[in-house]
């Protein structure tokens, strides 16, 4: 369970996030949605201890974020941010191997290599594993980073816009994979997504944010309604019945 209590963060005088109280139960995929600047990424970043909240407490799987040593936390939760500026020339396999660092401190044992291989296959990059990151497309690089946090083998997985840079096929694949990781391996996955229909279809729960606060949180079906989405996004949204469930139409 991820538990946030009175979490606040402010930048300057204008942007304020929180106070946020939230309890994300174990298992399943939870999608954080909302307009730009709603504070989704900031909230996720705080959960992943990359940013310190001004006030409040965050607990992941019983471990207090901010009170648990970072090393220990790295075996419980992994977080991937959307931007990764780097010039580092590592191969995909080397990068994914560093996802094992919390468990190995550097030396990969055969079972670690297996974790790495599985993570690479999971994101469909077997054929590219010995390529250097700077020779890959943005989407391939994105998948390599996702493989890295998968190899970290944590129960909780926080992903900031994992569909960024991905084409249609890989977006669908990524969501299917994440859902499978949640369903079959019992992982708890929290993602920030922009495409509301991806959230509606693949997520078990949706948490809608606006102006730094949580305005709606519940099973995906309950949040995917005309009124709620229109209110959250300040844009007229219609719901239609698609071949595989409800779809939000906003154009």
């Amino acid at each position: 369970m991820i538990k946030l209590q009175g979490v606040c963060k402010s930048y300057g005088d204008e942007v304020t996030i929180g106070p946020v109280d939230l309890e994300i139960p174990r298992g399943g995929v939870t999608a954080l949605v909302g307009p730009n600047g709603a504070g989704k990424s900031t909230l996720l970043t705080m959960m992943g201890r990359l940013l310190k909240p001004d006030a409040g407490s965050i607990e992941i799987g019983g471990h207090g974020v901010g009170t648990t040593p970072s090393k220990e936390l790295a075996r419980v939760v992994s977080i991937l941010r959307q931007e990764n500026h780097f010039i580092t020339r590592l191969t995909v396999r080397q990068l994914v191997g560093f996802g094992r660092f919390p468990h190995t401190k550097g030396r990969l044992k055969p079972e670690d290599e297996e974790h790495v291989s599985r993570a690479i296959d999971f994101v469909d990059m077997h054929g590219l594993e010995h390529r250097y990151l700077d020779e890959l497309s943005g989407g391939q690089r994105q998948r390599a980073y996702v493989a890295m946090v998968l190899a970290q083998d944590t129960e909780y997985l926080l992903l900031d816009e994992p569909l960024n840079n991905l084409d249609l096929r890989h977006s669908v694949q990524m969501m299917k994979h994440l859902k499978r990781a949640a369903d079959e391996l019992g992982r708890t996955i929290v993602i920030v997504v922009h495409d509301i229909n991806f959230a509606g279809h693949y997520a078990d729960r949706i948490c809608a944010m606006k102006d730094g606060r949580i305005v709606e949180f519940g099973p995906a079906d309950d949040v995917m309604t005309r009124d709620t989405l229109t209110r959250v996004f300040d844009t007229p949204v219609q719901m239609v019945e698609g071949p595989n469930g409800k779809l939000a139409v906003y154009y």
Partner: protein, 331 residues
């Protein structure tokens, strides 16, 4: 994740590359050949003369060992700096680290005229550390980490520090000492005053030991934190190690420009950036380049010598410009 396990052999063949292979052995052999050549190059006939053996022990061996240690140290420092700053053009002589070390050395020599070599070294190391920290703190405030602005600012910073040194030297009539020091050279290396260089062997071992941490730090603060690394502590550790290596080399040998730039870039182009598996190569190539440059500097106007920094500077400048052009082309 999928539950099927891969066949054993496939897992092994997919593993990371091994550290030792025949290519590395060939590299070692070539470098050893160069070092032997270096041992037997010089004006004095160490083989024929009566006291040849003694001369060999007093000057040739120390010189060759110094070349080895200094070459490896500077190349390694450049690599670690590049990982920590995520900038390809950064190395001790393009960030002012060397100049700071020089200032520290000068300060110790002026404040404590009878200072031992270990005290001078301490001064140089401390100043190098302060200078590198100043540079890193500056870097944190710039958003364009990969840009050329970074080394330009570093070179400017170094020039300012060097001019402070020059001013002090002018005031205290030590300009000539400074000039001799600034021109890195192995000419004066001999038994009894180069032994401190062995410290950098310890530094190299330390870098090898924590190599993975530096590589991860090269992926950025967020990725480091994610895997449970204290990013700032890694940067601090890296800075300490760089300062020690640079400070010691500066005091014993002097300025070895661009070495930390050429070597890591060439190695990275061929082998990528995994520090642990690259480190032997970076050390080897650093040694090889310094040895060749030193051989040239000793033979080009024999029986006299030019400073090795002159040869290195020319070579380094060419590589530096080539790197910039290459990056431009890539866009």
């Amino acid at each position: 994740m999928t539950s099927q396990t891969l066949p054993d052999r496939e897992t092994r063949s997919r593993s990371r590359q091994r550290l030792l292979d025949w290519k590395l052995l060939v590299g070692v052999a070539v470098v050893v050949g160069l070092l032997v050549l270096s041992l037997y190059t010089g004006v004095y006939d160490v083989v024929g003369a009566e006291d040849g053996g003694e001369m060999f022990a007093i000057t040739r061996i120390p010189r060759t060992v110094a070349i080895m240690l200094a070459g490896a140290a500077m190349a390694m420092s450049g690599l670690v700096m590049q990982l920590l700053t995520q900038n390809r053009f950064v190395e001790p002589t393009t960030t002012g680290t060397t100049e700071w070390a020089g200032l520290g050395l000068l300060a110790v020599m002026l404040l404590f005229p009878g200072a031992s070599i270990s005290m001078r070294m301490l001064g140089a190391v401390l100043a190098a550390f302060v200078g590198t920290m100043v540079f890193f703190l500056f870097l944190r405030r710039v958003s364009l980490r990969s840009s050329l602005i970074v080394p330009i600012v570093g070179i400017m910073l170094g020039a300012v520090v060097a001019s402070v040194s020059t001013f002090i030297a002018l005031q205290t009539d030590t300009l000539q000492n400074l000039g001799v020091w600034f021109a890195g050279s192995f000419t004066s290396v001999m038994r009894g005053q180069y032994e401190f260089l062995w410290v950098v062997a310890v530094v190299a071992a330390a870098v090898f030991f924590v190599a993975d941490r530096f590589t991860i730090a090269g992926l950025g603060e967020e990725v480091s934190t994610n895997v449970g690394l204290n990013y700032h502590r890694v940067v601090l550790l890296g800075t300490v190690l760089i300062a020690i290596a640079t400070g010691v080399v500066t005091v014993v040998v002097g300025n070895l420009p661009f070495l930390g730039l050429i070597v890591p870039n060439v190695v990275s182009m061929v082998r990528g950036d995994d520090l642990r598996s690259n480190l032997p190569w970076v050390c080897l190539l650093g040694i090889a380049i310094v040895t060749v440059c030193d051989l040239v500097s000793r033979t080009i106007i024999a029986p006299f010598e030019v400073p090795v920094s002159l040869i290195l500077g020319i070579l380094g400048a060419v590589v530096f410009v080539a790197l910039i052009l290459k990056q431009r082309r890539r866009g």
